[in-house]
Symmetry: C2
């Protein structure tokens, strides 16, 4: 398949990055990073997670962070939550945040238990409750995801059949409750995916569920994220989550080597150099990646913020 | 094209890594790293560069390093050189090293000048001298490479036509001097390549020069190396240079953003997980990557040595 002409990147660096850091990051810096990101051309920025600061200390100021962002027209700011209390915090900030519901599938029962402390039946009941709660609040349910879509540190490889059955379950809910969900996000939460696996899984989903678009949430713990993104581009995938500088890492993956999300500026670099539009100013984004290192107080893995963009080099050579 | 069933990886970490480090690495540690690498199943290890220690201080003990390696049967050890003095040092160690000649093309005149201080005509004359010198010494000329094959920090993008003309020049020498050269190595010396560019270039070379195999030497300065390797695998490429731990990065960027050669263990991980054989023991190689960090005294960028192999995880889960 030809590579897509353009892609849409959802920036998840703030949420991914803040949640993993042990030392408390000043609220000012969190807000400054989000405001810098909104100036790069990014249209979707995930800002915070409304979770208990007992579990995720750096989310203690999540509400304040959202309240203080300099909202930029045309940019959608989002947040995540996992329970009623989190939902209420999001709803209270509904004038600033795009608050939508999400169906969450788990391709690993073991990780569902580790992450949310729920058995599959309990998660199913929770999901049904969520759907009615969202309907009650007039919140559209527009998103769906499958966590641990390619493999799990606690249960091993995820067969494509299991991935398909999670998406079939999402489809059944979409039909039963008439939900406006048009795509499913596949999360390689614990970095088990390879380019070949990405191709196989995406091909199977495109065959069986042509009604759903696919987006990818790729972690880089084993260095495969950018190759996985390329394999997905070859399959026509146009939606990616990413994290500036490569911020992040999953706090619940029980894995000290767990790396962050695919680095936004590296992904943007690859797209631009291959003629794929992103609507993002790469050099401005590189500055955000460098600023993100200052915000978290340690180096981040992204390469292009060290190596530099070729745009700038070409401009210098043309002079 | 289907992915290849097996690939051959030439380990260049010792040479790449030692040459870039400012602080002197003890000879013992250099020898120990090479000996550890030869125990992983790697069949080709580039050990040192016979250059002046005035230019590359850590190569001051290059001859001693080669003399002290515990030669392992079935492993070919190599070295590089750029002038008669270097050649003589290699020849003196011919019982320990595989000494072969290499034709070196440069796809950037500007880089040829920066790197070797030669104009194209001077380089051509130097190459002809080298050929007669190798014939004189009974050294087979079996290798060819194109440096800056995809782009150059001093001259910009390399058009495919220029790459093809460099290979045409190599082919003309091969025919004129009846040289046993079967493949050409494309070096992305300054990390300008993208997966799409790799596909275009390799496709053009395969069309025009089906008599030559292609190998790749990929630097990771802009984070594209593993995606570039995947794109090459899709084109049927079976030969890659790589550097354990990702050795070869900037000595001042002592963190995960440092950029050297494509990381051997990350490449091996990708191959194995996609069913491509390498003949290498990944977990032994990961230990070498960790040891390489100790040898150079700072973190190296490779991901799998932090994230861990899935082989080991699967074995634990199976218990």
């Amino acid at each position: 398949m030809a590579l897509p002409k353009s892609v849409v990147i959802s920036e998840e660096g703030p949420r991914e990055g803040f949640q993993i850091e042990k030392q408390l990051i000043p609220t000012d810096k969190k807000v400054a990073l989000i405001d810098a990101l909104s100036g790069t051309g990014l249209k979707y920025i995930q800002t915070v997670s409304f979770v208990s600061p007992n579990r995720v200390p750096n989310m203690v100021d999540a509400d304040e962070v959202v309240s203080r962002i300099a909202l930029r027209p045309g940019v959608e700011y989002s947040a995540i939550w996992f329970n009623e209390m989190g939902l209420q915090r999001a709803v209270a900030l509904r004038d600033r945040l795009t608050v939508v519901g999400k169906l969450r599938g788990y391709a690993s029962d073991a990780f569902l238990e580790k992450n949310l402390n729920r058995k599959p039946g309990e998660h199913r009941a929770h999901t049904l409750n969520e759907i009615s709660r969202y309907k009650e609040l007039g919140i559209p349910i527009t998103e769906a995801s499958v966590t641990a879509a390619f493999g799990c540190n606690f249960s091993g490889d995820v067969p494509v059949a299991r991935l398909l059955s999670e998406i079939a379950a999402i489809k059944a809910l979409v039909e039963e409750y008439d939900l406006p969900i048009e795509s499913v996000s596949l999360a390689d939460t614990m970095a088990w995916a390879t380019p070949a696996g990405i191709r196989t899984a995406i091909g199977a989903i495109q065959d069986r569920f042509p009604e759903f678009g696919i987006s990818l949430h790729l972690h880089d713990t084993r260095g495969m994220a950018i190759a996985n993104a390329y394999a997905a581009l070859e399959m026509g995938i146009r939606h990616f989550d990413a994290a500036v500088g490569g911020l992040g890492g999953c706090p619940f993956a029980a894995h000290k080597g767990a790396a962050g999300n695919i680095c936004t500026e590296d992904l943007v670099f690859m797209c631009h150099e291959m003629g794929i539009e992103t609507g993002i100013d790469l050099d401005a984004l590189i500055e955000c990646g460098q600023f993100a290192e200052d915000v978290v107080g340690h180096p981040l893995p992204g390469a292009v913020k060290q190596g530099g963009s070729l745009t700038r080099l070409r401009q210098m050579l043309a002079k």
